[in-house]
Symmetry: C2
Subunit: 233 residues, 2 copies
DNA sequence: TCAAAAGTGTTTGGGTTACACCCATGA
DNA sequence: TCATGGGTGTAACCCAAACACTTTTGA
């Protein structure tokens, strides 16, 4: 290392995971209650410092597991936040990652370390105060999700393997914070021929049961590959 | 600082600037020739380490000025690159920023420090080998530019204040790497009522001179504000 | 008068919007 | 039989795509 470089290697990097889930018509984010300084006892995104010898994506997976118990969650980088005063312990630059998961698969997240006391889903419309600049991070992630969900079939990542068209519509409505016209929404979705009718209907609902559909990422990828298919809501 | 935190504060952060320019129908990127270890003598993005007490955006501006002489260039974060082995001096995580400038205003960039020997524009179709993982960074930036340019009026940032419709079309064609149909392109642009006819024509061209137009970001912002105007190419 | 790019209109098809009623089920 | 959400068709409109010739200038 050049002598003049020494002064620069004094920074820490952290990762913060924004995990989106969807349950009963509500878009949710997973938060933890911090157990240590700083912001002890406050809600925050599941995040922690990255070891100097550790890849950032790996750190994101590790930290997410330690703080919430979630494993094998694919994630994508959102943005890096690095203002000088964002962390009381020193200069900490954080890289935010977001993931979309089937919340039903991870209904009861729980910390695996003493750094968090609790992990809990919050509706994005009823978020508590959060530590650090995590409010900014959550907002940036929601914006990104709103942009992406219109041009990539990522909404399906939030739904169980079999879902109704109304589930899907409610998902889009809650992400985009709008109301969609039922007939047109269904026509648009069905015209893309992306869904497989599972030949099954809902059970135990007090009204006409809806048909269940599934989405296959593999088939979608083939469509894109072979015919340049473009997803658009 | 908690004692257990010490181990983490050993990382360096750098910034890399991807400066796009446009000249004579070609989309260009500004590179520097490095003058110091590592990668001495090789072409690279204008980038350098961030001081532990310095905001990242500020560092991006400072580093850009020092290495190329460019000042007051608005920039936007693209992505952060942080693989463990990307820098031979130690763990260095880099935050990439991209900017679009009127290349004619900065025709002859030149370094202000001994860290670079030269600064030079390269067509994105004829890039030299570049240091570090800068190839990945440039590719990520081009992808982002291609996505953004279709939904935001950022193309005008690359053109001089007065430009012809053919200039604009050539710009879009070189960014998107496609061929556009002249009549439809003009119709679409003009239908948005975003351009002001300057009442002037080209001079000194060996063919029918084209009319010159200008774009006002302020007027555009007002349109968006007042009528929810949506830019779309 | 020639070369070179500027400039322009119309038709067609597909997609988006808007809109209202009947259907199947459990309680 | 009632309440509840599931499920469907059609007309009007707008936008995108395709396509070829005339105009203006300098050389």
């Amino acid at each position: 290392m050049l002598p003049e470089s020494q002064a620069f290697f004094k920074v820490a990097v952290s990762v913060d995971n924004i995990i989106f889930g969807f349950d009963r018509g509500k878009l949710n984010v997973l938060l933890i209650k911090r157990a240590k300084f700083p912001y002890e006892g406050e809600w925050a995104l599941p995040g922690y410092l990255v070891f100097p010898e550790e890849d950032i994506e790996e750190a994101a997976d590790r930290v997410l597991y330690e703080l919430t118990g979630l494993k094998n969650v694919p994630s994508e980088q959102v943005k890096t936040f690095g203002s000088v005063e964002r962390h009381p312990e020193g200069r900490v630059i954080t890289v935010a990652y977001y993931s979309l998961i089937k919340q039903s698969d991870y209904a009861d997240p729980a910390p695996r370390t003493s750094y968090a006391r609790e992990a809990k889903w919050f509706s994005i419309n009823q978020l508590p105060a959060v530590a650090f600049d995590h409010k900014d991070i959550i907002e940036a992630s929601i914006s990104r999700l709103q942009r992406r969900v219109r041009t990539q079939p990522i909404g399906f990542d939030l739904l169980p393997p079999k879902f109704t068209l109304s589930d899907l519509q409610a998902l889009y409505e809650s992400i985009l914070n709008t109301v969609l016209e039922k007939r047109n929404f269904r026509k648009k979705i069905m015209s893309m021929s992306l869904l497989t009718d599972e030949g099954v209907t809902q059970e135990g609902v007090a009204h006409r049961p809806a048909r269940l559909f599934s989405f296959s990422k593999t088939e979608y990828d083939q469509l894109v590959e072979s015919e340049g298919f473009v997803f658009k809501i």
